[in-house]
């Protein structure tokens, strides 16, 4: 159930996993913290990594994906599916919030409806979580029933325990990775205590709080009030940052890219914050900005709770950190309930 590994043994472990899987680790390129295939050496991210700008959802719902190719022939069109990428991938260092976010995407793409592109990747992906030690001031996971050490959603959970990492085998998939792996030791009671202390310390650093007790009621009660939403949406500039960087947002666009002979059907990220998103031949139900902002907030904090008994937000804080005008979801949520009370 619990094992441990020294920092110096991590590279060896990743090497072993790299034989069978593509191992993705946090890295820094052009000033952006991102995911990249492990280079076979560098594990220094263990010292500096907090979270990536683009969430790891991009390895399950790629920003750009070819669904199939089509070719015009004598007897009409022929279709060709992309070669199935059966290779396994390990996302090493995924944060608890981002792993929980994938469990939320599962509700839509795996459980209600099976999106084969997503499901195949999901089945081939193992999530190795890394508990947070230095959350951002924009993080608010603890208000959403989670926290820096939350192991729900990952297959293996790694937590700092002194100069070692405690490994919790959460799922069978996780156990497959640790089975026979070298460098792993048996965790002692003291390691568990040390890890728990590290998580508690990190939890205390999550200072941003939201009270979601009456949020759904407030959203429902004010749903039709244009002025109420215009006020909330006033400074939003309708870019796609908050949705594209959101680890649970999954909306996509489909386009055929072709010449006279054929081409490809491609799927790419789309955002409910773009006016074009809901544009239809006859009308656009969300022409006004306030309707789009209302959609974003309501989807995560009203529709998700109604449909799935969870919020569509995990409190990763990316939308707050990266918003070019500091439109802060926690401020909005707290003001909603304040207005109702």
């Amino acid at each position: 159930m619990f094992k441990k590994i020294g920092h110096s043994e991590i590279a060896k472990l990743l090497s072993e996993w790299s034989k069978e899987s593509t191992v993705l680790v946090p890295t820094r390129a052009d000033g952006v913290t991102t995911w990249a295939k492990w280079d076979g050496r560098d594990v220094s991210f263990l010292d500096w990594y907090r979270n990536t700008v683009v969430p790891p959802k991009s390895f399950l719902l790629p920003m750009l994906e070819e669904m199939f190719r089509f070719q015009k022939g004598k007897d009409g069109y022929s279709l060709e599916l992309p070669p199935s990428d059966g290779r396994k991938q390990v996302i090493f260092g995924i944060r608890p919030c981002d792993a929980r976010a994938l469990a939320i995407i599962d509700l839509v793409f795996r459980e209600g409806y099976e999106d084969l592109y997503y499901v195949n990747r999901r089945n081939n992906t193992t999530l190795v979580g890394l508990a947070c030690t230095s959350p951002y001031d924009s993080c608010f996971c603890t208000s959403l029933g989670s926290g820096p050490g939350d192991a729900r959603g990952v297959d293996l959970m790694l937590t700092t325990a002194g100069d070692q990492l405690l490994i919790e085998e959460v799922t069978d998939k996780g156990k497959e990775l640790t089975a026979g792996a070298s460098g792993l030791g048996k965790a002692a009671e003291a390691d568990l205590i040390s890890a728990r202390e590290a998580v508690e310390l990190a939890s205390r650093k999550v200072t941003r709080q939201v009270d979601l007790k009456d949020t759904d009621k407030a959203l429902l009660a004010n749903f039709e009030k244009a002025e109420f939403w215009e006020d909330i949406a006033a400074k939003c500039v309708s870019c796609g940052i908050c949705t594209f960087l959101c680890p649970t947002c999954y909306c996509f666009d489909i386009n055929d890219e072709m010449d006279r002979q054929g081409g490809a059907r491609v799927k790419s990220w789309d955002s409910c914050q773009f006016a074009l998103y809901t544009r239809m031949p006859m009308e656009n139900p969300r022409v006004e900005k306030w309707r789009r902002v209302r959609q974003k907030v309501s989807h995560k904090f009203l529709f998700y709770p109604l449909s799935y008994e969870t919020t569509g937000c995990v409190g990763c804080g990316r939308c707050i950190r990266r918003c070019p005008v500091n439109w802060d979801i926690t401020q909005v949520l707290n003001s909603l309930t304040a207005k109702v009370a």
């Binding site: 052009d30 500039v237 890219e257 491609v266 955002s271 074009l276």
Partner: protein, 315 residues
């Protein structure tokens, strides 16, 4: 009561404006956020500090009524540019000018102290130096090492077109060559190297359009990027389409861009967009002897043509 708060409140009280557009402290460290309000009591929250980075003129075309807007030098030129393009009438805006002393670039600070912004305790500007507090330690740096590139290159920190000019708090310290450095780095590359450089930059574009959304002169009701007949660029983020989008955008804002730096600042994946936009500003100046937003009665650059101008450009 600080001067800005007093002036803004008076404008609302006297019915001279319907809205005040200014800056208030943001919810993150060293951040400010746009304050758009009808309520005179809110004016007590207005601030001027080295973090008022946004160009608030982006909100002008869509807001109704009379608008009191807080502007820095570059922003005031954007307002003028919008007036030139008939996007806002001069008599609909009361321009409150901030004699700008420069915006602090938090990315530069993060690099200097190897800490992210939320891990820094304090940043204080003291004349031509800046003091950064980390825990018990305090480090001092020359101001020029932390000011935004566009501020270092700024020629118009004091808003010229304005109705109320606030008293200066500090003087802008510029370093034009430092402000131009990253652009020159790109320029010094061979054509092949430059192409490879931009390909690499645009590979990570996520097409969030934040560059367009924060840009006051990207005011089109419908952007070319969203046209489908014909489709100028694919909505899918292929690097080629990302690059095409940005090249076309650069041409569309030529003669309107005032180098406020907000496209680059907004980019979540650090694409050096100012290396395109400032280059375009320089080209416009060089070819047409034109500085955007400096003359509200001038025709917009791209709406006028003189037979003998820039003959070398159009062939």
């Amino acid at each position: 009561m600080p001067q800005l708060q007093h002036e803004a409140r008076a404008l609302l009280e006297q019915g001279k404006v319907d809205y005040i557009l200014g800056f208030e402290p943001g919810t993150l460290k060293f951040s400010t956020t746009p304050l758009i309000t009808k309520n005179k009591e809110d004016c007590a929250r207005l601030v001027v500090n080295p973090f008022i980075a946004n160009n608030l003129s982006v909100y002008l075309p869509k807001l109704k009524g009379r608008l009191g807007i807080v502007v820095k030098g570059c922003d005031s030129r954007s307002v003028v540019s919008l007036i030139q393009d008939n996007k806002v009438a001069r008599d609909r805006v009361v321009i409150i000018g901030v004699p700008c002393a420069g915006i602090i670039d938090l990315d530069k600070i993060e690099q200097l102290v190897s800490r992210e912004r939320d891990e820094i305790d304090d940043i204080v500007r003291q004349g031509d130096r800046v003091a950064i507090t980390l825990g018990n330690g305090k480090k001092e740096f020359p101001l020029v090492s932390v000011l935004a590139d566009n501020c270092l290159a700024c020629e118009t920190p004091i808003p010229k077109e304005c109705d109320i000019l606030l008293d200066p708090t500090d003087t802008l310290v510029t370093d034009p060559s430092a402000g131009q450095q990253r652009i020159q780095e790109v320029e010094s590359k061979s054509v092949e190297e430059r192409w490879a450089f931009w390909e690499k930059q645009f590979e990570r574009c996520i097409r969030c359009y934040a560059c367009r959304s924060v840009c006051p002169v990207c005011f089109c009701e419908r952007c070319f990027a969203e046209e489908t007949e014909p489709q100028w660029v694919s909505p899918a983020p292929h690097w080629q389409d990302n690059m095409s989008f940005q090249i076309i955008r650069s041409l569309h804002v030529a003669g309107r861009c005032t180098d406020c730096g907000n496209c680059e600042r907004a980019c979540p994946v650090n694409i050096p967009l100012r290396s395109l936009s400032k280059k375009m500003v320089d080209l416009v100046d060089e070819l047409f002897d034109y500085k955007a937003g400096t003359d509200k009665s001038a025709l917009p650059l791209m709406a006028s043509y003189e037979a003998d101008e820039a003959e070398g450009v159009f062939r």
